[in-house]
Symmetry: C2
Subunit: 312 residues, 2 copies
């Protein structure tokens, strides 16, 4: 009998085809619920997920044959990686598949903010052509701090290479990654010099509300904030407060603490309604890494990684 793989979220057909070529039998069920997975997970040797499927301890305890979890995308906050390690289940992610898209998006948000692009366009749609109200701030000459220097952070730095900026990068878990163009820096150096700071960290206990009042107030200058990582990395209330105070000159966000607009608390509703009114904010609906090409690239990257798994 063939080893079985469960695919619980939409994927590119090349992924199913590739797994079949590796002699796996694939069950493709992109609308399956968590409860339904619990009932059948014991049959599966591998599982392919994206961001929606939660693979927690309860599920892993039932997954008696599971040898690998493949995540389309980056960010493993929906998988209990510590318990996987105990159970010797291999966790694979595929940040290589959308780092280009994420990096482009970060540049787009940054220039969009500095050059008032969505703001100017919205005014024009309302019949207002205002030059003086939309004079641009040049990225040229700025210092950009990148926090988290993985696939996404480094792809962003690469894109900025010809914009005449200084790049300072900090990564808690990496050393000696600096080069002629990217200066490996302490947080203090970033606090002291940055005009822009961009978050490229995973969501963990260490990074939850990493951008809070203390963090924001550590910057010597007013600065622009980009968050293209996870919404919970930023305290929205603290962000709003310092956008209003002027300490934060502008914010470009691809993520929010609560991205389920139908399930907002009254407090969240208030905060968001204030945030969405500000002229120096741009928010996009968590699409930085969701390019049309990304699903095919996730398939390529994951198939390579699954092939390399050393199986009995």
């Amino acid at each position: 009998v063939k080893r079985k793989v469960l695919i619980t979220e939409t994927c590119d057909s090349s992924l199913i085809q590739g797994l079949q070529e590796m002699n796996y039998a694939c069950d493709y069920n992109p609308v399956i619920s968590g409860n339904e997975i619990l009932k059948i997970i014991h049959e599966y040797f591998g599982i392919v997920i994206a961001s929606k499927t939660k693979v927690d301890k309860e599920m892993l305890e039932k997954a008696i044959q599971l040898k690998w979890i493949a995540r389309m995308g980056s960010g493993m906050e929906n998988v209990d990686e510590i318990f996987c390690k105990e159970k010797k289940i291999i966790c694979l992610s595929s940040p290589e598949g959308n780092a280009d898209a994420v990096a482009e998006h970060a540049v787009g948000l940054l220039i969009g903010l500095l050059h008032n692009i969505p703001k100017g366009w919205q005014e024009i749609q309302q019949g207002k052509w205002s030059v003086e109200g939309n004079r641009t701030t040049e990225l040229n000459g700025m210092t950009v701090g990148i926090i988290g220097y993985g696939h996404n952070g480094s792809a962003f730095a690469k894109r900025l290479k010809n914009f005449n900026v200084t790049i300072l990068a900090n990564d808690k878990f990496k050393k000696n990654f600096g080069n002629e163009f990217v200066k490996e820096s302490s947080l203090d150096t970033i606090f002291e010099n940055a005009d822009v700071v961009s978050m490229h960290v995973p969501l963990t206990d260490l990074t939850y509300h990493f951008v809070n009042k203390d963090f924001i107030r550590s910057f010597h200058k007013n600065f622009y904030l980009l968050n293209i990582s996870r919404g919970k990395v930023v305290s929205t209330i603290d962000l709003l407060d310092d956008l209003q105070s002027g300490k934060i000159s502008g914010a470009g966000l691809d993520v929010l603490e609560n991205e389920h607009f139908e399930k907002l608390t009254p407090e969240e509703k208030n905060t968001y309604s204030e945030l969405f009114k500000l002229p120096n904010v741009i928010i996009t609906p968590h699409v930085a890494g969701k390019s049309k090409a990304s699903k095919r690239k996730f398939a390529e990257v994951l198939l390579e990684k699954i092939k390399r798994i050393d199986l009995p």
Copy 2:
């Protein structure tokens, strides 16, 4: 007596200071009308303008002492350069002063279009968080055609260097500007290969409505159009038509044929009202080159050029 300079549009104070250091007497009058200039232009040795002041034959005939015209910005369509040549009046412009800003803006418009940045943000402001409706198209891997390879076109190409794109550039008046990264190309090569085309030409008789039905239909693929040059370079009606047909996948414009919203003809009103509804359009109010830093840079560039004028 000192030689006099008339400054007819807002400038950085460093320009006045620099001219005084060159022993010029400056009259700074940024709200002066064309008719008022006509009455006094005979007194002046130099005139500093931006985009609003029209220096036509009538004015030049009265400008009996005029030796130079200095334009803050690029684009000399408001100056009769041919008649200036006859009268041996030196025309100076300062595209070096805002090429960085223009190039950043072009990148911002392009990624904004491909990644649905203003569109996604506008939906969020209306309470709608739509991932599938805003999946991004990667710039990564595209072929970008640049038409007009002066200061702005080349600064745009430079910015794109690390985005993994192929750059094809065409300039009617330049040869041998290509390099390892920028391929000097015929228009036909651009028509055949481009996914994006960006206009960086001055407005002249040759470029008026350069982007028209014929031009658009010459492209082999559907393509994205950027216009960061002058509004009249693009036929708005033809653009609208092929945005609606799908031949143009999206348009990022910093300029329009008529930028005076209070003076639109009924036809223009109709065209604009259709254009402003499209989800694959972004328009900004002619601010690409109008960065906060640009006035100071124009002053620097023009002072250098004025210094170099060989005067008796």
